[in-house]
Structure formats: C-alpha cells, structure tokens
Amino acid sequence: MSVWPEERVTTIDSFNTVDMTINVGPQHPATHGVFRMVLTVDGEVVVDCEPYIGYLHRGLEKLTENHDYRQSMGWWDRTDYLAGLCCEGAYCMAVEKMAGLEVPERAEYIRVMMMELSRINSHFMFLGAFGADVGSFGTSFIYAWRERERIYDFFEEVSGDRMFPTYFRPGGLMADLPENYESRVRWLLGSINQGLEDLDGLLTGNEIFVERCKGLSPMSTSRAVNLGITGPILRATGLPWDLRKAEPYSVYDRMKFDIPIGESGDIFDRYFVRLSEIYQSTKIIEQCLEQMPKGLVLNPDLPKTLRIDNAECYIRTEGTKGEYGVYAMARGGVKPYRMKLRSPSFCNLAALKEMVVGNYLADAIIILGSLDIVLGEVDK
C-alpha cells in the first residue's frame, strides 16, 4: 500500500475551490458586543453574510408594558448605552406627548446640552473603536477614552451615574445642574476640541487609514433610504437630513449648526461625517450655555402618579446612530399599553449583508465597524 494513493494526487484539472463558512462572534472584539455573523467566503471574497442578533435581548418592550412610566426610565437608557441620555430624551418625549405635559424651558436647554454631550461621547467611542478596527491599534482608543472619561465625570457630577444617568424625567429633569457647571462644560469643550484635533491628525492624517477606507462599500442615497438607513450613514451618502433640523424637537430650532454630509457613502465618508458632527455638537453646547434661562427644571403640575388615557404617538429623535423612534400607546392606567423602540442600529445592521457581500473578508470587519452598532439597541 502506497503512502500517498495515486488518485489523491491533485492536478490542475481537479482543482476546484469550495466556499468556506467562517463564524464571527458572538464573543469577538471586532463585533463591538455580542453580535454573531456567519460569513461564507470564496477565497478572500465574502459571498454571503448571515447576521444573528438577540444575544442581548432583555425584553425592553415587555418590561416597559409592565412597569409604570417612572420605573421604565431605567430600561431605556440601557438601549443605546453609549448615549443613554439621548434614549431617555426620546422616551420622555413620548410620554410627555401622550400626557400633554409641558417641560420648563431651562430643562429643555439642559436636555439638549446633555444629549449633545452624549452624542459626542458616542461618536468618540466610534472613532476610538473604528481606529482600532482599521489598525491604529490602541492609540485612537486612548485618545477617545481620555475625552470620554471627562464627559462621564461630568455626568457623574450632574446625575450620580456615569453610563446610565437616569437624569431625565417625564416633565423635566431629576435635578438642576451643579453650580459650577458653566466653567466645567467650557473646560470640557476645550478638551473635546483637543481630542478631536488629535484624532483627526492620527486618523485622517494617516495615509494607510485613508487608503483603506476610501471607496470601500459605497452606497447610493436611494438604496440607503429604501433599506431604512438613517443617521450618519445616510448623511454620508450626501443627503443633508437630520431630524434636529427636519422635524425640530425640544429647542433645536433655536440652535445654529450645520449638517455635515459625505459624497459617496463609503466608509471614509461615514467616519468623517461623525468626526464633523462632534464639532457641530460642541457648537450647539456653546449656544445652550449662552442662552440658558433661569427657572424650574421640573414641571410643578406633574402628578405624583402619571396616568394617561387613550393616546398614541410616534416620536422621532435624532439619536447618535440615526432615527431613534418611539411608538407609544396608552389605554388608561399607570402603565403604557405598548411601547416600541425603532432603533437606528437595528435598521442599519439589517443592511449589513448588502454592504459586505463582494468585499474582502478583512474589509467586512471595517464595514461592520463603520455601522457603529450598539447591541443594547439592536437587541432591545
């Protein structure tokens, strides 16, 4: 018996490639949480992608239906946990819309300021993690974390918690800002601008980074709209659409800021739109500080137990990842009858397959990173 049987000898004629299946996640640093995708590759090229989600499903909607309006606050800032205050804002606006509650002007300004700080926080997280995805290893992470820590310190000073402040209330805020807030925020803005400059120099100024991202996985505006993509990814395709301007809520109609857009919707545009948005957010915060009125921060007519009769609404806010919508329905009593979260990450992630197929395996990780998903929001 020969060691190598005659029929096993490979010749060019019998050399066939087969598709190979690669599992990525659910525990994998490149998936930014507990997300799993099964990629089918032909050589180095991805031919199919099947995303699996739900590893972080906590039953947000069922929990909200079974708790009263005050108790549910804590669930909602655990959806987009990188920008908890944006989620709280949307939840509170839905409850206020249904109950017809007024929010004092000072509270609206503080909300906008805190929501923009959250947005900056979330975008810094993206810049740090995305830099690491593309290969900048740890430097971008450290630059981003330096600023995030400072913002979190401010959140802690204001509300007592860093990631999940539970600072908003239907009808206003938990408490007023600390006395020295203005100097703290102005110092924070200077520090954010410094961080922005550092990251811009590190990433945008890096030829390898730019070469890797430019032209990768471009997307047309019409396709993005049909797939339900919103937020920075939609703006990267060249559509200047931002809910803060298209349907202004809170006091955003009094703020002057620009909507950064991209050209082709490729990975670099998505990155650069987010980078520019941080700068626009700092402008909004500065205007908040200048225009901040004095007064109450919680509606004095707020009943101790909020009861809402038949009411229904769909509230849309510009979350950090796109349109953060809350569909809410009340049919009497102290609990909502139904609350549905329209999470931007969920809708953006649904388009992953279309973006990844046809690209190289190594680029699939970058494309996933460029979506900036938060699994708390995807899985609810």
């Binding site: 499903h57 049909n226 009411a311």
Partner: protein
C-alpha cells in the same frame, strides 16, 4: 378603554386629505394620533395602498420608518406602519387590524427593504404571519423557543419555565 370614534368619511385630517385626493380608490378610514394621521385599512387592501403611497409623486413615501405589532386584546392584533417622505417631509401612519384566528398580513418587503427585520421581529413577538416574506425566521429569540412574548396573555415572569415548550398557545399557567 374605548377607541375614539372614527372621523366621518368626508373629513380627512392632515396628510390624509392629500392621500385621498391622489388615491381616490383606496379604501381607508382616518383616525388621528397625537402626532400622525392614522389610516385604518383592511389587510387585503394594504399592499395596494402602500404601493400607491410609495409610487405617487405627490406622496412619495420613500421610507418605512417603523413597524409595530400590538396585541389589542379581544383576540385582535394590530400592525402599525410609520411612513415618511424625505422629498416632502411629511409622514403618515397606517394601521391594519387582524383577528387572531386569521393573523395574516401581506409583507411589504417587495416595496421596502427596511420591512425585512421589522416584520421578522413582529412575527416572532406576536405570532403574526407576513405573507410573502422571503426569510421568515426568528430574529431576536432562539429558533426553538416558540413563544410570543409580547402577547398580553404571555406572563412576565415565567419566561424561563416556558423556554422548553415546543408547541401550544403561549402564556399557559404552569
């Protein structure tokens, strides 16, 4: 706990007047929510109406923002669709109510790519069946967990007991 009375037919609040004008054949009645006009349409007429909303130039609802399934009680399920037009910056909500015994709703995946995951989620959470969906698998829950957690009959706290159950009406008391 009663729904507000439907508006009388000639009254079309907000955007629904324009919709009625450009799609005179579409059969719907109009309610209004705190934020939107809410078109009530039968499941059989849904695709035709949505096709009209999508294609007519003066309506141009090019984005399907959200799909919500709701257990309305009394063996009824409702599906709420929120549409938005980037071109005209207007929005509308469409409601389909189906009985539990015949909980079939046509899928909108042929018109809106965004409908895919939203419909899969509503299907697993409430037991709705979206006819014509290309990939009607479970999305957030395990595939072998055949429960519909967002039904009102499903208890909040016995989820772990229910997780081994393969068949049957969810929400059994054990």
């Amino acid at each position: 706990m009663t729904q507000p009375a439907p508006a009388s037919p000639p009254e079309y609040p907000g955007i629904s007047g324009l919709i009625h004008k450009s799609l005179p054949k579409a059969a719907f009645t109009v309610l209004s929510t705190k934020t939107d006009a809410d078109l009530q349409v039968a499941a059989a007429d849904l695709l035709e109406l949505v096709q009209g909303l999508f294609e007519r130039k003066e309506l141009a609802f090019d984005m399907l923002a959200n799909i919500t399934g709701i257990d309305m009680g009394e063996d009824k399920l409702a599906v709420k669709y929120n549409f938005y037009s980037f071109k005209h910056n207007h929005r509308v909500q469409v409601t389909v109510t189906v009985p539990w015994a015949n909980r079939h709703v046509p899928s909108l995946t042929s018109i809106y790519g965004a409908a895919d995951w939203h419909e899969r989620e509503a299907a697993e959470m409430l037991g709705l069946v979206f006819d014509g969906h290309p990939n009607p698998k479970a999305l957030l829950l395990d595939e072998d967990v055949r429960i519909h957690p967002l039904l009102k009959s499903h208890p909040l706290q016995t989820v772990e007991i229910l997780q081994g159950i393969e068949e049957g009406v969810p929400g059994f008391k054990f």
